[in-house]
Amino acid sequence: MNLEALSDNNLMMKVREGDLDKMGLLFERYKRPLYGFFYGLNKEQELSEDLVQNTFLRILKYRNLFRGEGDFRAWMFHIARNVNIDHHRKHRIKATEALENWQERVGHHENQSVEMQQNEEHRMLSMAMDRLPADKREVLLLSKFEERKYSEIGEVLGCTEGAVKVKVFRALQELKVIFKQLEKIS
């Protein structure tokens, strides 16, 4: 099989044509970035796994809508965003924690050990990310998992590439402020 045949778009087209096993390849390729995205937003392992599952189920369900022209990864993250929004709309979770309550926001599950093993700076950066408003956190997570492909992120968010860069700029500015506050507290 040549490399082109293994591209995301080609694999998804095969799934669309009925070769559902190819979905397994896409799952292996993206389960970790998707999980990282959901975990970064929600900080709950089981929920994040469920949301990854739901994303792939939705991709399977709507496979006939994939035209192969756009970017598969952008389409996937677009679906992932909607899965997250639907979940929170259903559960009506509101994030209103103040900066002083950041200790309560550390995850309550096995992945906590991974967070503790990171170096101090990364740990504080994770905590600072947790403190960002959801929309700013989301854009930085998309930037991370879509490898700073701002035009692709624009497809996911439904805005121009330039608008994405401004969103990233504003999110990083606020992250810098929070990070410096955490450095003072620790």
């Binding site: 999980y35 992945n111 991974v114 930037s143 121009t160 810098k176």
Partner: protein
């Protein structure tokens, strides 16, 4: 705005000396693509660190759930597709064709000449191809009995093609009926000398959620002394859905293999 002024604006921002109006102007330049985010030193350094923060990994539960859902979707897809080629109307026709071919074969057998021997081997191949076609069509049937019949047809074949072994593995991994799966495993045992079949058998372990099939697979691995199956068997042990009694049996098999 000219390049020099832009450079001054960026430098002022990097020094932390920009006022709100200048920051707003900087945003506009970023939006237009005239200033790249990488030029903003502190923010760029922070962005670089975000990339390095380790992402936790999901548990095996995610894999189990996904592959179970995929298997289910594939089963539903098969049911939804209408195989007009594989309808009941075709089956009697296939059977009649088989009788004709076999009769021709029987007649030819008693009147053999060197050229006719070639014809006989061609007929043998036709019969074999027909059996294969019948087997593959029966595997698609709703009735478990017909699918069991398909698997038993395979045991009547002297040699099986890759298409047939692939179909057997699909059955082993996805058939909803445990008896059909066990029957497929029995047939595949006969071909376990092939390294490809052994590799696929190891992969199949992860697809099995029926205790009967799990035990049968563990026992088969011990029979064929396939040490490479240990990791896959260990994953079954780690799966919280595997019953305790099965875990005990699998542990025993692993001890023998190691």
């Amino acid at each position: 705005m000219d390049k020099l002024k832009i450079d001054e604006l960026v430098e002022k921002y990097n020094e932390g000396l920009s006022d709100p109006a200048e920051t707003k102007l900087l945003e506009q330049l970023i939006e237009k693509g005239e200033v790249d985010l990488t030029r903003l030193r502190e923010l760029h350094a922070l962005d670089e660190q975000i990339l390095k923060v380790e992402t936790p990994a999901p548990s095996l539960r995610l894999d189990d759930q996904f592959y179970a859902a995929l298997a289910n979707e594939k089963r539903q897809q098969k049911r939804a597709l209408s195989f007009s080629l594989l309808s009941w109307d075709l089956f009697p026709r296939l059977a009649a064709a088989a009788v004709l071919i076999l009769s021709g074969f029987a007649v030819g057998y008693f009147i053999q000449s060197p050229s006719q021997k070639t014809e006989v081997s061609e007929l043998t191949k036709e019969v074999s191809d027909l059996k294969e076609m019948m087997m593959l069509s029966l595997l698609e049937k709703e009735s478990a009995t017909q699918r069991l019949r398909a698997v038993s047809l395979t045991s009547e074949m002297d040699q099986v093609s890759e298409k047939v072994t692939n179909a057997l593995f699909t059955t082993l991994n996805q058939d909803e009926n445990v008896n059909v799966r066990l029957a497929a495993l029995e047939v595949l045992k006969r071909y376990s000398k092939s390294s490809e079949v052994r590799a696929q058998l190891i992969e199949s372990i992860a697809f099995q959620d029926s205790p009967l099939v799990q035990i049968a697979m563990a026992e088969l691995m011990v029979t064929i002394q396939e040490k490479k199956s240990v990791d896959a068997l260990k994953q079954l042990l780690q799966n919280e859905n595997t019953p305790k009694e099965i875990k005990t049996k699998i542990s025993e098999s692993i001890k023998v293999l190691i």
